[in-house]
Amino acid sequence: MSTEAAIEPPPAGGHVPSIATSTLLRSTREAALKTPSIRWCDDPQVGSSSSVLVDSRETRKMNTYQAVRDAMSIALNKDETAVVFGEDVAFGGVFRCTMGLAEEFGRERVFNTPLTEQGIAGFGIGLAAMGQTAIAEIQFSDYIYPAFDQLVNEAAKLRYRSGGQYNVGGLTIRTPTMAVGHGGLYHSQSPEGFFLGAAGLKIVIPRSPIQAKGLLLASIRDPNPVIFMEPKILYRSAIEQVPLDDYELPLSQAEILTSGSDLTILTYGTPVYTCETAIHHLSQPPPSLDALIPQSVRSASVELIDLRTILPWDVDTVVKSVQKTGRLLIVHEAGRTGGVAGEIATEIQKRCFLRLEAPVHRVTGWEDSEISTPVALQYEKFYIPDAVRVLDGIIKALTY
């Protein structure tokens, strides 16, 4: 079920940023090596980031699945206890993230499991409880629910329940997430919100190849269990020059992608690019939208933030930004009720109440089915928050 990116071609006449042309992607070696907060993990001087070292570093063009694979290859190379497993992982996985790893590291370390998500999670917990490194794959985040009990009641709570004697810090669960344009109810979900109440777990969602590699290595080495959700449309469509060395990017640290003073947009995963497009349309609307974008908002300066870690999230960066802009728009694919935006909005309203010039706005998927997040196949284009919905949210927040 390897997924071809199904991106809309840019409308005629405009160089509108899309994933393929996004300026947020680092397409040169220089830009890649300047990735903010990058932490080189060289042996033996772990953590060194001196410019001398930077100059000699190499990069290679990779898409997101190749970057994910690269991270796992480094983890397997450097950590003898590390194993990679899940459904169809041995032949490379349905999204090709584990391609060649079984051949390179052997079937004892990279292996297929029988088809049981609760089993995969439980097995990983067992490995991690023994102090080893377990990198498990759940084939689609839509299928993580059979593992919910293991993750929420066991992985999240083991440290607390054992008075700190046991922990599963070595556990990382990778799983493809979000919509691709043709996945329907059960290949498009964004279940991150369901894990918000599971203190003890971390949830990380990267936006690009460089981010995926650095955040995955950090997740694997973090002393807590991490659910690492990879936006599946970005596997092939997002391409960057990725540093070949071992490096990490910090967890629980949001990244300001473009700074601005009038409005903060907070998002993560695929919608990062939708927001980029919407911001572009705000200042340079295509002729079709020209009449609908008030002149007063066109020169607004928008700060775009990628949250990156959903749990525990970087409240400081968001608060600082909103204290500056006074307005916050949160965008995610998951449904609204019980979604991540609701949690963030509450905290921001509490901390920035007197500074806010508009209520916190949310642009999200519709909740067609309870608080879950199904994406009805034929209705997908009207379900997923697209650029025009984000644009409308921007206008509403700015003109409130």
């Binding site: 041995a90 996945g183 079709s288």
Partner: protein
Amino acid sequence: MFRHLGRRAASCTARKRTYSDFKHGNLPHSHSPITTDLEFFNSVRPDGQQIPTYRVLDSVGQPIDGSTVPEPFSYICSSYETMMLLPTLDTLLYSVQRQGKISFYHGEEATVVGSAAALSPTDEVLGQYREMGVLLWRGFDLDSIMSQCLGNKEDKATKGRQMPVHFGSPQHHFHTISSPLATQIPQAAGVGYALKRDPERRGKDCAVCYFGEGAASEGDFHAGMLLASTIPSPTLFIVRNNGFAISTPSSEQYYGDGIAARGPGYGIDTIRVDGNDILAVLGAVREARRRCVQQGRAVLVESMTYRVGHHSTSDDSFAYRARQEVEDRKKVDNPVSRLRLFLESRKWWSDDEETELKARLKSEILTAFKRAENLSRWELKELFSDVYAGDEPWNLREQREELGELLKKYGTVWEPWKKEREKFNGSGDEFLS
């Protein structure tokens, strides 16, 4: 399997053992004889012997010695038609999907049609996704098949919400398919229990649950088998063991003797059948169903087949198995040709009829496809229906209204929406007024 326990022990110790050997009586309140032998038992036996496979036809369509050909014969001819329909549909849907029209499709023949023919048309079926043959056997028409696969306004099964092959039809007693694997297995135990509670259907209908050998690894499989046997219900489990779960061969799915070996663990009558022999499937499932309904207890049938096609249209199976292996299986163990050879040898089928049937099926399928292709989708407002019964909650109403406002503002100018709207019945106008 526990019936063979004595024999297995004999094969391990090379000594025939009789019940009188157990001279120490039983464990209190049980029939477990006390023994002084420190012996272990396993479905994986030292001599390599496995659970036998029930078969009627050999690979060239001749009944094997001592086999029973199930009657009536008219059934066999109609099952051949339905069987032929499947690969023809498969080919068409496969080729249109390769052009990007539908998202995925995959199929399988003798196991599905043979078992469908053995059921009562009112048995409640809970399938996985390769069981379209059951619906076809029950008269679900080609227009409905195409409509679901293309997600148009006649797709009553899912209103265009689910991917292709996620059929469902209460009229055909076929519960709507769900992509998450194995969820239907414990549900089937509940359906079986409901049938038992219903005075109109008790002793008449059973629940029939299909799933793959891969799905049988899910916790839900074990839960379902356990429930159906412990809270007895007429629930018939049919596992299609086609050797693969996407790329994972069954040798990496389980170490024991297939799925059949698990039935006895739950006290469930179990049989393994040659799933590429439609007469064996028909005979075995018919008897399985009889027991299931008569005893009101679960029965397990493991049908051994081979997935000739790729897992789905987004899979290329030659990345993990040899093309030759597939070609060989197609040749020596082809369920369709085994039945055709049988029919021909009885003079119930001829080349002319074959040619005529192929042409007719192809043209019927094409007609249905062309018709379905030109139908619009449901109305856009269906995006928000069927979430709750009764009053629409405020949050859904507001979200529906919010989409309405957005469509009024941008729906006639924003290209991606303008184009997309056209595909819906009424072009989403219900939001614009």
